[in-house]
């Protein structure tokens, strides 16, 4: 397009003066600056930088100029058109930004609107609580053991030094499968899993067994015919009550926080000797004055009854095929439901088994 223009007489032609070019540039810049949106800018571009714009037309004339004038005119027009193009590009960017801002502003929504169309799911705190407990022991190298809920009488009682005429059998009111002579029960504790573990593994044994157990208790705020226990069993060389205490202190701390340890009181369980009741240091008042005096969690005792434990009775080792001359062991058992009840301040045991979604939902997917 910048070829010589043969339609014009070279003598009649004269290039635009510097002032004229400058005026056209100013005119173009004013029009560009006056464009308030991209459409107006488009019109300004057409008018001042399009093919029919004065500068473009002038540019076409350059070829017709005398040779000595061509260079000056070309330079002058080139600079002028560059200035206009620059102004257009700056204005284009500005207007695009303004347009985007306007669109974004128009697209604003109320981000506080509710968005959950279906309700959240959750797992039961007894499930997640059992997992939490298992993880505490797994982290120490222990493993989880399991056994059936409907269990042989021999494994639930006899193998655990609870012979048929043992008065302690009356301590655990047992559900019997009909007929009673079939010697099958709903396990009254998770201890038969201990027996099964010893019967199927060789020491060293470090296991924890969470699970549901049954007693013929009427259903009220603190009793239930079905509840959950976690049992621990260690059988190894040189195991002592001190290792039992260490394990339970660690367990207590993991569940209830630093400084929460345990206390032993002599007790009786047929499957352990010596036996102890385990008390947990109250994690609310820590047994410290003056908080303990008015503490409702421990009722002013400073300690909370937590479970039973002891050194595995050598008779149990014998019945389960472990040589008591070589190995000693310890075992403990706690109520999972009870542990969760005081960890989470749950007042009524029945809330655990009522199936009310508001209860489970409060705990989410992990404890």
């Amino acid at each position: 397009m910048s070829g010589p223009n043969s339609e014009y007489d070279p003598v009649q032609v004269s290039g635009l003066s510097a002032e004229e070019v400058a005026d056209l540039v100013e005119l173009a810049k004013a029009a560009i600056g006056a464009a308030t949106d991209l459409d107006e800018l488009k019109a300004a571009r057409l008018a001042h930088a399009g093919d029919r714009s004065p500068l473009a037309l002038a540019n076409r004339e350059i070829g017709a100029l005398p040779p000595q004038a061509r260079k000056d005119a070309g330079q002058r027009l080139g600079q002028a058109r560059a200035q206009v193009a620059q102004a257009l590009s700056v204005r284009q960017a500005t207007l695009e930004m303004e347009q985007e801002e306007r669109i974004l502003a128009e697209e604003r929504v109320d981000m506080t609107l509710p968005v959950q169309r279906s309700s959240y799911g959750s797992r039961h705190p007894v499930t997640t609580g059992s997992e939490l407990i298992a993880d505490v022991f797994i982290a120490m190298g222990w493993e989880v053991a399991e056994g059936p809920v409907v269990e042989a009488e021999w494994l639930n009682f006899d193998a655990l030094n609870l012979g048929p005429d043992h008065p302690a059998r009356t301590m655990q009111d047992t559900f019997w499968v009909d007929p009673v002579e079939h010697a099958i029960v709903l396990r009254t504790h998770t201890s038969p899993v201990q027996a099964r573990t010893m019967l199927t593994r060789t020491p060293p044994i470090y296991v924890v067994c969470p699970g549901r157990v049954f007693r013929t208790d009427e259903y009220d705020a603190t009793h239930s015919p079905m509840f959950h226990q976690v049992e621990g069993l260690v059988v190894d060389r040189g195991i002592t009550m001190a290792h039992l205490k260490g394990s339970l202190d660690h367990f207590a701390t993991a569940m209830f926080g630093a400084g929460i340890d345990t206390r032993f009181r002599p007790s009786y369980f047929p499957f352990t000797e010596p036996s102890a009741e385990v008390d947990l240091r109250c994690f609310v008042c820590r047994g410290e004055e003056p908080a303990v005096a008015t503490c409702r969690t421990c009722r002013g005792e400073g300690w909370i009854e937590w479970g039973g434990c002891g050194v595995v009775n050598p008779r149990v080792l014998v019945a389960c095929g472990v040589d008591p001359e070589i190995y000693t062991g310890f075992a403990f058992g706690m109520g999972i439901d009870r542990t969760l009840m005081f960890r989470h301040g749950i007042a009524d045991l029945r809330d655990l088994f009522d199936g009310d979604i508001r209860f489970s939902a409060a705990f989410g997917s992990e404890l």
């Binding site: 509710p114 309700s119 799911g121 959750s122 797992r123 039961h124 499930t127 797994i138 120490m140 190298g141 222990w142 493993e143 989880v144 059936p148 809920v149 409907v150 042989a152 009488e153 021999w154 494994l155 006899d158 005429d165 043992h166 008065p167 302690a168 559900f175 002579e181 079939h182 010697a183 099958i184 709903l186 019967l199 470090y206 549901r212 009427e218 260690v234 190894d236 001190a242 290792h243 205490k245 260490g246 394990s247 032993f264 002599p266 009786y268 000797e273 010596p274 036996s275 050194v311 050598p314 008779r315 019945a319 095929g321 000693t328 655990l352 088994f353 199936g355 979604i357 489970s360 997917s365």
Partner: protein, 832 residues
Amino acid sequence: MRVPLSWLREYVELPDAISAEQLAAELTALGLKLEALEHVGSDMRGPLVVGRVLTVQPEAQSNGKTINWCTVDVADANGSGEPQGIVCGAHNFAPGDLVVVVLPGGALPGPVEISERKTYGHVSAGMICSARELGLGDDHTGIIVLPPDSAAPGDDAFALLGLRDVVIEFEINPDRAYALSLRGVAREASLAAARRGLVAAFTDPAARATPTPNDAGYPVAVEDSASCPVFVTRGVSGFDAGAPTPPWLARRIQLAGMRPISLAVDITNYVMLELGQPIHGYDADTLLGPLRVRRAAAGERLTTLDGVERDLGPDDLLIADDSGPIGLAGVMGGATTELSATTTRIVIEAAHFDPATIFRGQRRHKLPSEASRRFERGVDPTIPEAAADRVAELLVRYGGGTVEPGVTKVGAAAGRRTVSMAADLPGRVTGMEISVATTLANLRAVGCEVEAAGSALSVTVPPWRPDIDAPFDLVEEVARIVGYEQVPSVLPPAPPGNGLSRSGRLRRRVGRTLAAEGLVEVISFPFIGSAALDALGLPDDDSRRALVRLANPLSSEEPALTSTLLPGLLRAAARNLGRGASGVALFESATVTLPRGSGAAPIYGVDRRPTATELAALDAALPDQPEHLGVVVAGERERSGWWGPGRTGDWTDVLAAIQAVARALGVDIRAHGAQRAPWHPGRCAELRAGDRVIGHAGELHPAVCAAHGLPARAAAAEVHLGALLGLAADIVPGPTLSAFPVAKEDVALVVDESVAAADVEAALRAGAGELLESIALFDIYTGDQLPVGKKSLAFALRFRAADRTLAEGEAGHARDAAVAAAAASCGAVQRR
């Protein structure tokens, strides 16, 4: 065991430096667990004194009652020495009687503040007290009339009646039966004081000189000496059946938790509480011939003291005379020979019985008694003579008469048991530093005799500790005196473990998946009755109607263990909706119980490990207990809101939930149309993994929804979770991803309405060949454009090769092959 401290102090000299609370705490640390500590009488305030009734003036009232206007001599207790005027409503007394009077300013339990008050036209200045008003029992039929000459007017009634005391109630473990007596608790109290560095001397109330047995006592024949190793009788004659029980004795029994009945009975109970030896008293005039200790014959019957007639059998150990059974040995006496208001001659029985026999007897007859509680746990077999002697002494002291010279003793206590223990065992087992000297001292403190024999100790166990028969029992005795609080805290050195088991990890994955799908986990009881199965509409021959029944269910409505998780889930769903939830989506995973098998589980000995065969027999006897997963969705699943309408949960939700679980486990499961209760016959899927049926899902039958109070379209699923876990992908092979372009082909196929989409998809998949990357059903059409009874299924097929760009027409070719396969197997016709 309830222990009044005033009574305990008779046998142990407790220093004042140890409070009741401290004593209870130390006893708890020794193994007698504090249940309650009661400051009896702390809610009463004097003046509470003995008074002598001077005058009684009955006055009829307009309300029909007669009250007595009395004057009572309370000596100087009222400050004036003048007779006290008191209105009294009771009628069981007369002038001259000694009564208990609370004067104005005093207070009785309630609290009842006593002051002068105007009543029935008199100013009544105090109250004449009944037993109940003083917390002495339930008797409110009249006021207390004290035995004549037992006190003087003005005497302090608190001391006289033992109204103020401290009672410590302990929970006694089965291995500490000796602590079911004041004798046993006093021995422990002495150890308790020692833990605080105090000396509290113990005096054994069973240590008393007794006359030598002779042939002049009441004749006894023990026919079963294994069940009755010792049987002692003593006799008292000339006893005054009307003699009252001394108030202090009645009070002690009452504080110990027993009800005073009559002097003779109260004394037998008193001595049982004191020594731990149960005593039975017979009215000698009702006995016919010698006492026999024997097993019952089948068909024999006995009416026990509680008035119940009981059928007896060869397992029952009896006391009999020539008339037949007169008592269940060690459990409860019979009605025909009991001590009564006319008894003047008494035969005292103090015997020792085999614990297991007594345990079985009381269990069989559901008759736990104070006597059986002690016998079944083990009493001291060496004290029957002392106990019988003590009873005789108290009978004649308070009831008059004479102790007969005859002393019958059949049998003898077994010799004391000796247990050998390595001297360092207590330290090795407990992890505490325990010297041999400490071990010796502690064993002796609990009554053992100990001799060192090399590195072992030969320990002779005291007769009141039948629970000690192995070295570890001795370890506990040593350790509890050292103090369990001394046990150090040391973590055991566990070897490296394998972490959570595979099934444990998978279960967590299942739970998290379902929670992420919006389902809430619940836990239900596994008890069920036929009504719940009826509500599910299970046909009579449904295998889920075969239940494992309980012999002693809590409720006769739910006498069995459930075979399905659905009843619990449906109930929980309905409960939530009933409590205002607009929708509910629940899951539960638990074992169900299915009958199987061999029936009876063997009982083995415990002296060795059962063999592998024997262990297998135990497991074979147990019912099948597969792990199930149940899901229920009912009501609103997605709520309506500013975004538009909500959505009611339906069969797609439960199917999606199960598919999500399967996907999380890497198991491919397919749905097939099926019919099964409790589902809608046209909306039930059988779920299969390969050829294996792993469960069912679908919309619940309308009748089932109605029976459970669930809204229409409620849906449920139940699958065999254990099987799913077993099928879970173990090591997943990594896929090879093709970067070559995909070719998409859509086809619409017209088939009969009855043809399952999954079958058409399977045919397409099979026919498409290995270039097929994926297939998805994206539209279903029925309507005017199609003949009646036909539907159009639109599938999107994606083809891709692993190693090249597909050639022109290659994908179309594969599509045509797929359509041909669908035509062949499903009668599909491609819709143009």
